[in-house]
């Protein structure tokens, strides 16, 4: 364990050195680590490597004024003319974004744009996210060459970084002379493709790392070791699939992994194409493979889901929940009560009066602002709806009417889509439930998840309801209005604890249903059984939700029922 940790730290050291050689080509570092001595030590190294210049720090809740520059209040008032400040992104150099996992989609996109516009702007994102779902947006991570994960490293495994500053200086000087052997590009691109890295930015960033690595070791030509470094630092952390090395390896990979069918085709295609396989590529792949976390495949699903879920997790009372809170035109108002003054609008309101006020007061130097000029920012807080589909994927359901249930969800999804609702999918089967998709507006995602849904096993209805409840609360904390639509045949036979016991299972399910009613989520229970199940109607009334047996529901009446059931609130 400790040996592995040591290796990780050495790699971090190498990554930092490569980064310091050519920061602008590498774009930046995405560092996943909790706050702690290890991270501090890494950042210390970074500051030292930057020759002591302290990087500027951003904050995920930063407004555009601070980022891109805005009106300087004090100076403007003092001078009577607009004075603008230079934003933090206004000048090149290294900027640090702490708590990067809190950055909202808007900020991610803006930072990505800033990185694109200014090659010399470099971002070090400190991501403190716990778990796969909580992470910096893909728009940014894909522009940062180096992905490092220092989580779980103990300070004992992380001795002070050895940065040879003169050597870095030499490497920077050497960098422009480093040449690339012809095969390097094709090798890195192939490795990237085999690892399932679709974006073409990745191989380009890998090339930059390979160059930096060569310069670091004093070579004027990129060698195999540099390519290996590039693969380890850039490509392996982005891998979305295990590379298919040969047929034996293909069979080795666990059979229950569900990669998308087209992906698998590609995999075979590429491996066929590479029959006269280039040994260097294979070697690089081996290197990458050694780096891949063992639970890669398990994490993939979560990561993919996170992509859509991560549209917002904003804190702060103002934007709480409204991930697309719409700014309204500013209105006249008074300062206080935490209202935010819209400075520009205030100045605009005051501007036409200046001549008169100056003349009236006899004071010509200063800016005359009256209380009536004050303009306050307003936001429209529209609550969005999140419909949580709880789908029974148990054996009994699957046997009977899984496809009908899917059909019903499709109708509901189409409804949800046209109303711009968020949709989440929870499936339960076997001994537990899982979130197939956290609340999202992306139809593409939902479609994929739904079609991949397999059936079989017991019916842990209570677990499904519990998960829906949790998801609903989470959605509510983000300012959405959650609704729960349950599709089941109602034969609950697995309890919350995972025991196969019909009696406790039914009790648990009823308890969870009551909990949902207490939370005042609107809901709907759709019976997908071959014939209506008596118990399910009772469950629905426990939940305070209408009960709708699917057998009698054609498409139209189903969607009408959902419409009425879910618009109660």
């Amino acid at each position: 364990m400790s040996e592995q940790s040591e290796e990780r730290w050495i790699r971090a050291n190498l990554a930092l050195a490569c980064f310091l050689v050519d920061p602008s080509a590498l774009g930046g570092i995405w560092l996943r680590a909790r706050v702690g001595p290890v991270r501090d030590r890494f950042l210390e190294g970074l500051t030292k490597g930057l020759n002591g210049t302290k990087p500027r720090r951003l904050h995920p809740a930063m407004g555009d004024d601070a980022l891109f520059g805005g009106v300087d209040l004090t100076a403007t008032l003092a001078q009577g003319a607009v004075v603008r400040t230079q934003g933090l992104l206004g000048q090149s150099g290294v900027v640090i974004l702490p708590m990067a996992e809190r950055a909202q989609a808007g900020l991610v996109a803006r930072l990505a744009g800033a990185l694109d516009a200014d090659a010399n702007l470099v971002l070090v994102a400190l991501d403190e996210g716990a778990g796969e779902e909580e992470r910096l947006g893909h728009g940014l991570t894909e522009r940062l060459a180096i992905h490092l994960d220092l989580d779980g490293l103990a300070i004992g495994d992380a001795p002070e970084l050895e940065l040879d500053l003169p050597a870095l200086e030499d490497a920077r000087a050497l960098l422009s002379q480093v040449t690339l052997p012809d095969e390097a590009i094709s090798e890195l691109t192939q490795v990237a493709a085999r690892l399932g890295v679709t974006s073409l930015r990745a191989p380009l960033l890998a090339l930059a790392v390979a160059r930096a690595s060569a310069a670091l070791s004093g070579d004027v030509e990129v060698g195999p070791a540099d390519l290996q470094t590039a693969v380890e630092l850039v490509l392996a952390p982005r891998a979305t699939q295990f590379p298919a090395l040969d047929e034996a390896d293909m069979q080795d990979s666990p059979p229950d992994t569900p990669p998308d069918p087209p992906e698998r085709e590609d995999q075979e295609e590429t491996s066929e194409q590479d029959q006269p396989a280039l040994p260097p590529t294979e070697m690089l792949l081996e290197a990458a493979k050694a780096m891949l976390p063992p639970d890669l495949l398990a994490r993939l699903g979560a990561a993919r889901a996170a992509r859509s879920a991560k549209s917002s997790s904003g804190s702060g009372a103002k934007k709480k929940g409204n991930n697309r809170g719409r700014p309204l035109p500013s209105r006249a108002g008074s300062i206080g009560n935490g209202a935010r003054v819209d400075l520009v609008a205030t100045l605009r309101a005051a501007a036409p009066w200046q001549k008169m006020r100056r003349a009236a007061s006899g004071q010509f130097e200063r800016l005359h602002i009256r209380a009536s000029d004050i303009r306050i920012r307003h936001y429209e807080e529209t609550s969005e709806r999140a419909i949580i589909f709880v789908v029974d994927a148990s054996g009994s359901s699957a046997m009977a009417r899984m496809s009908e249930a899917k059909g019903a969800i499709e109708i509901l999804l189409a409804e949800a889509y046209s109303r711009r609702d968020h949709v989440a999918l929870v499936a339960f089967r076997g001994t537990g439930a899982e979130v197939l998709l956290p609340p999202t507006r992306s139809l593409v995602q939902t479609k994929k998840r739904l079609s991949a849904l397999a059936g079989g096993g017991g019916t842990p209805l209570a677990a499904g309801l519990k998960l829906a409840l949790e998801l609903g609360e989470l959605a509510r904390s983000k300012g959405m209005t959650p609704s729960v639509a349950v599709l089941t045949d109602g034969r609950a036979n697995v309890s919350l604890m995972g025991e196969a016991n019909r009696v406790t299972a039914a009790e648990d399910a009823a308890a969870m249903a009551r909990a949902i009613r207490v939370k005042a989520f609107s809901g709907l229970v759709i019976d997908t059984g071959l014939r209506p199940t008596k118990g399910l109607g009772e469950l629905a009334s426990e939940m305070g939700a209408p009960y709708l047996p699917l057998p009698r529901a054609d498409a139209r009446s189903l969607s009408a029922a959902v419409e009425t059931a879910l618009s109660i609130q």
Binding site: V82, Q190, L200, K447
Partner: protein, 334 residues
Amino acid sequence: MRHAFPFSAIVGQEDMKRAMILTAVDPGIGGVLVFGDRGTGKSTAVRGLAALLPPITAVEGCPVNSATQDDIPDWADVTKTDLIEKMTPVVDLPLGATEDRVVGALDIEKALSNGEKVFEPGLLARANRGYLYIDEANLLEDHIVDLLLDVAQSGENVVEREGLSIRHAARFVLVGSGNPEEGELRPQLLDRFGLSVEVTSPKDIETRIEVVRRRDAFDNDPQGFLAAWAKADASLRDQIVAGRKHLASLEASDDVLRDCATLCIALGSDGLRGELTLLRTARALAAFEGAKAITRTHLRSIAPLALSHRLRRDPLDEAGSNTRVTRTVEEVLA
């Protein structure tokens, strides 16, 4: 200012390139919406295209790039009369942009210091006669999108606020891009874009290698790379310029009009915008290719670009709208 990657050096992504070229031939087609994976060269293509286009002639110092003295809006304080050549403008619309920045607003500085009511033009003014590029259009605030599409359609920006009453020409090609996995555009908005393209990362390993190789060559030696591709870019430019001239002489025959209508009816696209875009795009393609008349071949090849985003959306149709359009085109124009 960084050099733009030469447009003709972009590997693959034929649909996207074609859509952009066609809007360059006839800006009246309306905007282009590019939806797809990251790192597929969406913004590279826009910038490359603008760099390639012939420069526009504009009155020096005019905030809306007016071509002649008469076009200068009355609020603009333009003292010079010289005509200068400048590059086709490409204006980026940053995601957080406020309404003020986009449409323009009262110039506070002038108002504060001189008590004058002067209009400070926004991004829309700068984009006149050029391109307005929105990355991640699907994340843009809805009210800004509404506003943009409205202006893009009418070609005029009307500002009525803070005691200002101002209008100016704002004819630009709107290019939006985004990743559908992060949320989709409202169907009403989709319809307002002239063309739509879906881009995916190239699957073929050789293509991918070529992309990386060229980009790498460009990054290492921009000047040399630009010089190497200057000829290809120039010939594309000539073809676009020739296409623009040729455009007016192409008339649509009754047969072509009938085909457009039949196609749109068969696909059930709402309104007549589908037909109009179809016709304009086909004409632009014919002009670009130097053809004598608009033919079914032209229609066939641009129908997916012009129509795929106008279909009534079947949220769970696995095939995707492109396939549906292609299928219908095959049936109707058989």
